[in-house]
């Protein structure tokens, strides 16, 4: 195996890992805080790419990329808040909230995917890259956009960790996830923090969609594959641990890149599931997960 091959595997693994980390951290944040899985996380990612395309592209409004990104992020904040209101909030007091919200968020996914298809049609879209052209990383040529993803993901995730660790609202979000009743007794408005958490998670999904929308082709099912990967990663990394999720995302990216190289794109996905099954047999709580919850 030549140095070039190793470099190619590493670089494509890091690109994949960065995308997965962005996607999975939003999912993990909602799980840790609200105790539910948002299956519509992928559809939010798709929605962000379409909104950005419509605002920025010449075939749409043609306002340029910056406007597209800004409008898309604003729209995703609204979409996150709306989704919490409509499909999660009515069931907070219900004992089976976890199972109910699996169904309601899956329903929201179908609604969003079909709605997008109705509004934008089935024709493939692609966003203009934020960073056009090619760059070379460790002797491997990648697109500027992929380089951007490699740089932006750790910055965003670092900012998220900093926010959760040091700010009043961020610490409040962690407290609500660990013990909502105790959080109420120190004066935290729990439902307000649930809304903020959902909006933040939606923005993370949206940013993934915007970044990936010029690397891959955007279809109504654009977010489906990243969602499945993100779900695997959140479980693999350990439920309730954001660090575990991020670690698992990069690990998964590298493993997928290596498997794709050695055994081909056809078998790689099933091998990843096999790997997950083995890990969960040995460590049921995931890489950094806690046993409780």
């Amino acid at each position: 195996m030549t140095a070039d091959t190793i470099s190619a595997i590493l670089v494509s693994g890091i690109v994949l890992g960065s995308i997965y980390a962005l996607m999975a951290s939003g999912l993990s944040l909602v799980w840790t805080t609200l105790g539910i899985f948002n299956f519509a996380h992928g559809a939010l990612m798709t929605l962000a790419a379409y909104v950005a395309w419509t605002v920025s592209d010449g075939a749409g409004l043609g306002w340029g990329l910056s406007a597209g990104i800004a409008v898309s992020i604003a729209a995703l904040i609204g979409a996150g808040i709306l989704m919490e209101r409509l499909v999660v909030r009515p069931f907070y007091d219900h004992r089976d909230i976890l199972l109910i919200t699996v169904m309601t968020t899956l329903a929201a996914t179908i609604f969003l995917e079909k709605g997008i298809q109705l509004l934008w049609g089935a024709r493939l879209k692609q966003l203009a890259p934020i960073w056009p052209g090619k760059v070379e990383l460790f002797r491997t040529a990648i697109s500027g956009q992929e380089m951007l993803i490699i740089i932006v993901a750790p910055v965003l995730l670092g900012a998220l960790a900093f926010f959760l660790r040091t700010t009043r609202i961020g610490r409040g979000i962690r407290a609500v996830g660990q013990n909502p009743d105790a959080a109420r007794l120190i004066g935290i408005d729990v439902s307000r923090l649930f809304i903020i958490t959902f909006a933040m998670s939606a923005v993370l999904a949206g940013l993934t969609g915007i970044l990936l929308g010029s690397v891959r082709l955007v279809t109504p099912e654009f977010g489906a594959e990243p969602l499945v990967k993100a779900l695997i990663i959140v479980i693999f990394g350990g439920l309730g641990s954001l660090t575990g999720t991020i670690l698992a995302a990069y690990l998964m990216g590298l493993v997928e890149a290596a498997l794709t190289f050695f055994i081909g794109i056809y078998w790689a996905p099933s091998m990843i599931f096999l790997l997950l099954i083995i890990v969960l047999l040995l460590r049921p709580q995931g890489l950094l997960g806690k046993v409780v919850r």
């Binding site: 962690r174 660990q178 013990n179 009743d181 105790a182 109420r184 004066g187 935290i188």
Partner: protein
């Protein structure tokens, strides 16, 4: 009974879980700067009463006045903002957060934030052990340390009144004495207190007045210096026949 000077007034409160009421019309009051005890066996509604006042659970009927204003319609964060602070029983707080993080976070309402520095100094002076372990995670604390942290969290909320639910549950006699001293020091600052306890000696050493709780109602009120009828307490715990 209604006196606007009272810190807390509870009138005919009914509440419970699911369909059955645990509180069957409970009425009591806590005067300004007064220390009041609630004593009675498990399952007779002491914790339910505090949970209902702080709105962890919703009342079915009755009124709650705090500093002369009705609070029974308010959400929990607004009750905390007004300064009525409930220190819950055996609270595991936030397992994965550090002591210092939790204390700083507990000053969450704007009013508590304004007093954060002074309250933090006070709490760390009152419980030096918390200062020694400021970087330790909450889940690794002993029962006594966690109880100190719980009270510290209550103080960081800038209380105008404290409701403490069995602060000495499961603690050693030595730790009980330490906590009793701390609670006496806190109420010495003029903060009215509603104290739930099972330890009759502990409660009598700390309060001006005490209510006996029996089957979701106040069965008797005992003033300081008034006689505690041990037979009556025995009856509450063991039934009228068992105590003989």
């Amino acid at each position: 009974m209604s006196d606007p000077a009272n810190a807390l007034e509870v009138d005919g409160l009914r509440a419970g879980y699911d369909m059955s009421d645990v509180l069957l019309g409970m009425s009591l009051h806590v005067g300004p700067q007064e220390r009041v005890g609630l004593f009675g066996p498990n399952g007779h509604g002491k914790t339910t009463l505090l949970n209902t006042i702080s709105k962890v659970i919703a009342p079915h009927a009755g009124r709650v006045l705090f500093m002369g204003e009705a609070i029974d319609g308010l959400p929990p964060q607004q009750i905390v903002a007004r300064g009525l602070i409930h220190v819950a029983q055996a609270n595991r707080l936030f397992p994965d957060m550090q002591i210092m993080e939790i204390l700083e976070l507990a000053a969450f309402t704007p009013r508590a934030q304004a007093d954060r520095k002074a309250n933090l100094d006070y709490v760390l002076g009152l419980f030096p052990r918390l200062a020694e372990r400021r970087r330790q995670q909450c889940k690794t604390l002993s029962g006594g340390e966690r109880q100190m942290l719980s009270i510290g969290v209550g103080l960081m909320c800038a209380p105008r009144m404290l409701m403490l639910d069995e602060p000495t549950l499961g603690l050693s006699p030595k730790l009980k004495d330490e906590l009793a001293e701390a609670i006496a020091e806190i109420s010495g600052r003029g903060i009215p207190l509603l104290l739930v306890e099972q330890d009759i000696a502990f409660i009598l050493s700390l309060v001006d007045r005490m209510y006996l709780v029996d089957h979701g109602e106040i069965s008797r009120e005992i003033r300081r210096g008034g006689e505690v009828d041990h037979q009556e307490i025995m009856n509450m715990y063991f039934g009228a026949d068992g105590a003989r």
